[in-house]
Symmetry: C2
Subunit: 342 residues, 2 copies
């Protein structure tokens, strides 16, 4: 389909030069006489010429597009990270496309394949696939930075939070508040959750508290909306079980998604947190601040995470060589909505 846009050829003809010269002017790739440069610039303006990125990409194999492939875009958490990433990348001439893998490994694989075929300059990924031994080739040529989860069998830059330490701190804090029998509950056991679990166990052991493995629960929930989640019967069963049968006095939630479901349960059952039941969770989600529940949270520094991921990616894009490493961002332990607030 012939587009009605001006091409480089049109510019060249109007300016009375060759396409090579136009290209040189556009890309500053060669010393061009000021006079001819003027002519070309004028022609470009006159025709409202825009470089065709598709043609450029076919020729060079490079684009100015970064893919942000996210396990579940609906989490506000990733939106804050994404905004920071976008801000930094935009400043450096890149555009960010958000891609939602919906916690589906197969879908993520196809999307990453597409990013490669589309010659994206690089990708930032909140990975769903845990084992990357079959995915290594998918992004071997272009920079890739992982966020939030560290997949296996791939050596690349990873930006995480201090998972084990934060979990240790959270558990310790709740123990200091009187927790004796603690449950750890979360959807999906991935690498990140494993680290959080480690911190939890360490704290329990150091405090000479026994760990009941029955109260460490990971569900296999496929992605759901928050609304669906709150009404999910499985959450109710699990919470009924640990609270009524196992008689735990404290729950640690692995992320904001479970926290939402749990809080819905607490509301229904009229449970006052930190009084009737100690409760701590990873993530400080915006909606928590308007609740009438006191919640202990591990706040992740989304700005710092985004900034780190973007700056590492930029360095890689610029061809800087440095060792692939894990970057851990500190968290903050906060108590939301406690009486001291007022």
């Amino acid at each position: 389909m012939k587009s009605n846009e001006a091409s480089m050829k049109d510019v060249a003809i109007l300016a009375g030069v060759s396409t090579a010269t136009v290209s040189h002017v556009i890309n500053n790739t060669c010393n061009v006489n000021d006079k001819t440069k003027m002519k070309v610039t004028k022609a470009i303006k006159e025709l409202n010429y825009k470089v065709n990125p598709t043609a450029r990409r076919l020729r060079t194999g490079n684009s100015k597009i970064i893919g942000f492939v996210v396990s579940n875009l609906a989490h506000y958490f990733y939106q804050e990270i994404g905004a920071k990433i976008e801000e930094i990348l935009n400043k450096n001439g890149y555009e960010l496309f958000y891609i939602n893998s919906h916690e589906d490994p197969e879908k993520e694989k196809q999307q990453l394949e597409l990013c490669k075929l589309e010659d994206f300059a690089g990708v930032i990924v909140v990975p769903v696939n845990n084992d990357w031994s079959n995915l290594k080739d998918i992004y071997d040529s272009k920079p890739i930075v992982f966020i939030d989860r560290k997949p296996k069998n791939v050596r690349r830059d990873v930006v995480l939070i201090t998972n084990t330490q934060s979990s240790f701190n959270l558990t310790n804090y709740l123990i200091s508040k009187g927790a004796k029998k603690v449950a750890f509950i979360s959807p999906q056991l991935d690498n990140t959750m494993q680290l959080r679990l480690d911190g939890f166990k360490d704290a329990m052991i150091q405090n000479n508290l026994s760990i009941d493995e029955d109260c460490i629960i990971f569900t296999k929930h496929k992605p759901k909306t928050y609304t669906d989640l709150a009404q999910d019967e499985e959450w109710n069963r699990i919470l009924d079980y640990v609270i009524n049968e196992k008689k735990i006095d404290c729950i640690i939630s692995g992320n904001a998604l479970f926290a939402f479901g749990a809080i819905s349960y607490f509301k229904k059952n009229n449970i006052k947190l930190q009084k009737d039941l100690l409760f701590g969770t990873f993530d400080n989600a915006f909606w928590m601040m308007n609740l009438d529940q006191e919640i202990v949270v591990i706040e992740q520094n989304t700005k710092a995470i985004g900034e780190k991921a973007a700056s590492i990616l930029l360095k890689r894009l610029n061809g800087e060589a440095f060792i692939y490493d894990d970057y851990c961002i500190d968290t903050k332990l906060l108590t939301l909505n406690d009486k001291a607030d007022k």
Copy 2:
């Protein structure tokens, strides 16, 4: 940059045919002998050949990518719509890229320009720019569907909710609950807000209630995080003003963003909704269900909105010709967290 991927030429050589034949096999564009078809298919598999979308796009001017350009991706509302759109488009062989315009008209313009340059097959837009007289050419050749807001000076398909009617119903309902002096507050006065305002005014007039124009307030807030919003001093001033000075007995919120800020204010000031103050809002956001406030909401049917937008776009992509129209999706008036719940 020479990629190490197999090209169509490699396939042709291995299969002992011409590239034209390979192309025909891939695109079913010509009757090809079963035997040669087999040979080609085998070679494709053997080389793990993938069509290069960039080259195809340069040649044909078409891609299988749809852009979803959203005013602010952080709103969960758009995530639900997006998920539905994606589901439908994926089934039809299209991939969806999410693009965040951050309520920035200039940015949106550039992004739409990029979608055009990248030869996206089409776009679905929650528009930030209100006047499209200078943007018409930007997407004149490819299908475009607007969602949630109807921009001026462009005749294209628009998927909206029944804004005026819903607002009328909401206002009427609150009046039936005793509202006499009502404030209407929202960030950003766009076309959609104007319609909601119209419905509000109609209801007030029909009920012989006077409208205080000082209590109709639109702020010019640039996008902020929810967290920032809750602490924004401007909201506090506005709410102080209408509640304490203007002595209103009811507030209608134009969207979930303002509702969040307002609820934060109510919490701080210990105001019990529907008792101390009547309150209704557009949008049923997931976080509202866990509050200890009774809230009257206009729930938008995100699935229906997404489905309508995607199906219209698909029809346009398939070249079906029909009149550009506005499609209005019904809403539901709900009361969240009322005592009858238990």
